[in-house]
Symmetry: C2
Subunit: 193 residues, 2 copies
DNA sequence: TGCCGCCTTCCTACTAGCAGGTAGACAAAA
DNA sequence: TTTTGTCTACCTGCTAGTAGGAAGGCGGCA
């Protein structure tokens, strides 16, 4: 419970939760201002323009995600566990409603009207995630843990789509349990055992 | 090529394409006004408030979708064909960019900040679609066309998530072909033959 | 047939409030 | 003393929404 977070980090934190709730056009500087008790102008001091704020935010998110996934690869025993930890992370986020949606999945929906500097970063996150999933699946196949119908790249795309679609369904139907009900069987099917 | 569409239909058409592009907060009465060459006030004559406009729009969409799916059930020979026609519909929409996203999937992302009258209708569409998929899968099992790992309800949720997730990936990565690359194998796997 | 009043649709002109963003003053830290 | 962070006060343009009027269609009625 450190309250040592810098102002700009606090701004990004609030902005992130607001984007998760309503997307790029669903929040304003005034919303952030209200949430952390600082004037609008002070937010502009840290992030002159909204597009820039969100670009930095997505950068941070992508970096955090990449670091998290990387450490998962190093720490988790097997590729099967790595996959399991990954979806458990999201299950927890969704079930306690702390962050019930991926920032980049949210922004991807608005892709067509996003500033370029944001859109390109969202795309990058999707590529990173697909690459991570591909390499985990690949490793799992080599260790005889997974048996895939398709090439690892395609199977990774299918899995990523399942995860994002499951988030959407859970939100649309107001049923957090739906996430794991959809994604669970999807990864169970990959296992050989 | 009938230009006999009523003004309120034209308003809904434009609003729908704007929502598909940018969500609930991503369009304004002025945008519609510009697109169909009518004053803002005239739009308010047909739809006094934005929440009402979108509620009517989602109602129309849900009705059209329900009718389309119903006629698919009646016309398409087998449950396997019904599923194939369903995803072919979306593949076409996405590939020619005519409507590269489901309105309700788009709005589902913004669920948390949608007016109640809209949110409840979006939820209804998700339930309808899940029910349709469930019944098609069920029929397919009874005719020995499909073999499912899970109960039809769960498998339907998994399939729906795949479809929405695939739309999102196709959009995020700017690759229309990704939709069918993800959804194709997903339904192929259900088939017994 | 022509006139009447009503209803629908669209318009111009307007409002209050919020959006993102700026200018410049002030205090404290470096 | 310069830099950093915050403030008050402000600007412009856009937001949803309103008031009220003009044009036309339509049914009734003499």
């Amino acid at each position: 419970m450190k309250s040592t977070a810098s102002t700009s980090d606090k701004i990004l934190d609030i902005a992130q939760s607001l984007i998760v709730a309503g997307g790029y056009n669903g929040f304003s500087y005034a919303d952030i201002s209200d949430a952390i008790g600082i004037r609008k102008a002070s937010i502009h001091h840290h992030f002159p323009a909204k597009a820039e704020l969100v670009a930095v935010l997505v950068d941070r998110y992508t970096r955090q995600a990449a670091a998290g996934l990387q450490s998962l690869r190093e720490q988790a025993a097997s590729p099967a566990d790595q996959l399991q930890f990954y979806i458990d992370y999201w299950r927890t986020c969704i079930e306690n409603a702390s962050q019930p949606f991926c920032v980049c999945a949210m922004l991807a929906g608005e892709m067509q009207m996003l500033p370029d500097e944001v859109a390109s970063r969202v795309r990058a996150h999707f590529r990173n995630l697909a690459a991570w999933l591909t390499s985990v699946l690949q490793a799992g196949v080599e260790q005889g843990l997974f048996r895939l119908d398709k090439r690892p790249e395609e199977q990774a795309q299918m899995l990523m789509a399942s995860v994002h679609g499951a988030m959407l369904s859970a939100r649309a139907l107001g049923d957090p349990g739906l996430f794991i009900a959809v994604v669970g069987p999807e990864i169970a099917r990959l296992r050989t055992a």
